[in-house]
């Protein structure tokens, strides 16, 4: 997958999120599959709301974790790529543009 310029990530609304002591799970009830998330991936999942741009997400992560912008951008892109590959996230047409 490549980052889809001008498009916004949207999570599937029928996926269940369950928090456990050891991490979080996304449960695809349609396929009967589960996907384990670390805390950062869980946060990215939550922000795949169809309004948040990749740039906004990366800026916020940089502010919290004090990591270089490029590192955060690469990590977010990798997470989104994995979520999309698993069929959990798609890309919407935006009202807002990425920056």
């Amino acid at each position: 997958m490549t980052m889809q310029l001008g498009r916004l990530p949207v999570r599937r609304s029928d996926i269940l999120l369950a928090d456990e002591d050891t991490g979080s799970l996304l449960i695809d009830t349609e396929l009967g599959t589960t996907h384990r998330l670390n805390p950062a991936a869980r946060a990215v999942w939550e922000l795949c709301d169809g309004t948040t741009t990749l740039g906004e997400l990366v800026d916020a992560i940089c502010q919290v974790f004090a990591v270089p912008h490029e590192v955060a951008r690469r990590d977010v892109a990798t997470t989104l790529e994995q979520l999309q590959h698993a069929g959990l996230v798609s890309w919407s047409s935006p009202d807002r543009t990425d920056h």
Partner: protein, 228 residues
């Protein structure tokens, strides 16, 4: 073997403070070098003991931005952990925006606090896992609000920006009139116009918007730019 972490624990309530310090030390192996009960003594003691971590409980978090700013100016600057008694998304957001390196929600008890101190002393940023998403969303929303406010600021005339800057400095209508050598009625007209342009209902709301969105510096630059 690595040096032990030097911890300063800042909390107003003495009984609670002593209990937390004892539990950290005897139950969890985290030695609290000194306990403090206000901002000034915390700065002094953190500097004196070269604190690695300063734990600020919520009772002392009212002036958190200034508190964190002063701690960051120490050499070396300590890491800052804000400790709460229950998960509070707004408090977490305020802590991170103020410059804290982490937030302990109290949900995992003393062990959670001890773990947070250890992690933060290693240079990690500490945020409760289930609160990270709401935190990022809150930061993004505040950033959007700031961007909108900045756009509105640009629409002000140079004189209106001067009036706003003086309002932010705490001057009332007459004080602004004295500084700008104009009549109080003219100041009132400027204020009415700038409140309308900023889409706020009161002077207090205008000041709060400038403070909340971090536009004070920008306002100062705009005023300096228009004056030169």
């Amino acid at each position: 073997m690595s040096d032990p972490t030097t911890v300063v624990l800042a909390e107003q309530r003495s009984l609670f403070r002593e209990a937390v310090a004892e539990s950290l030390q005897y139950d969890h192996g985290v030695v609290v070098a000194v306990c403090t009960d206000d901002v000034s003594s915390t700065i002094l003691q953190a500097d004196r003991v070269s604190a690695d971590v300063v734990v600020i409980f919520k009772s002392l978090a009212q002036s958190l931005p200034a508190f964190c700013h002063r701690l960051h100016q120490l050499d070396p600057p300590p890491r800052i952990l804000v400790a709460d008694s229950h998960p509070d998304e707004e408090a977490l957001l305020d802590a991170i925006e103020a410059g804290a390196d982490g937030y302990s929600s109290g949900a995992s008890g003393m062990q959670g606090l001890a773990d947070a101190i250890t992690a933060i002393s290693r240079g990690e940023s500490v945020v409760p896992p289930t609160m990270l998403g709401p935190l990022l969303r809150g930061l993004i929303e505040r950033q959007r609000t700031a961007a909108q406010a900045a756009e509105r600021l640009v629409s002000l005339t140079p004189r209106e920006r001067e009036v706003l800057a003086l309002l932010v400095d705490g001057l009332d209508q007459r004080g602004i009139a004295d500084v700008l050598v104009i009549s109080p009625d003219t100041v009132r007209t400027h204020l009415q116009r700038l409140l309308r342009k900023m889409e706020v209902r009161s002077r207090a709301e205008a000041v709060a918007l400038v403070a909340r969105t971090g536009l004070s510096d920008r306002l100062e630059r705009i005023v300096e730019g228009s004056a030169s």
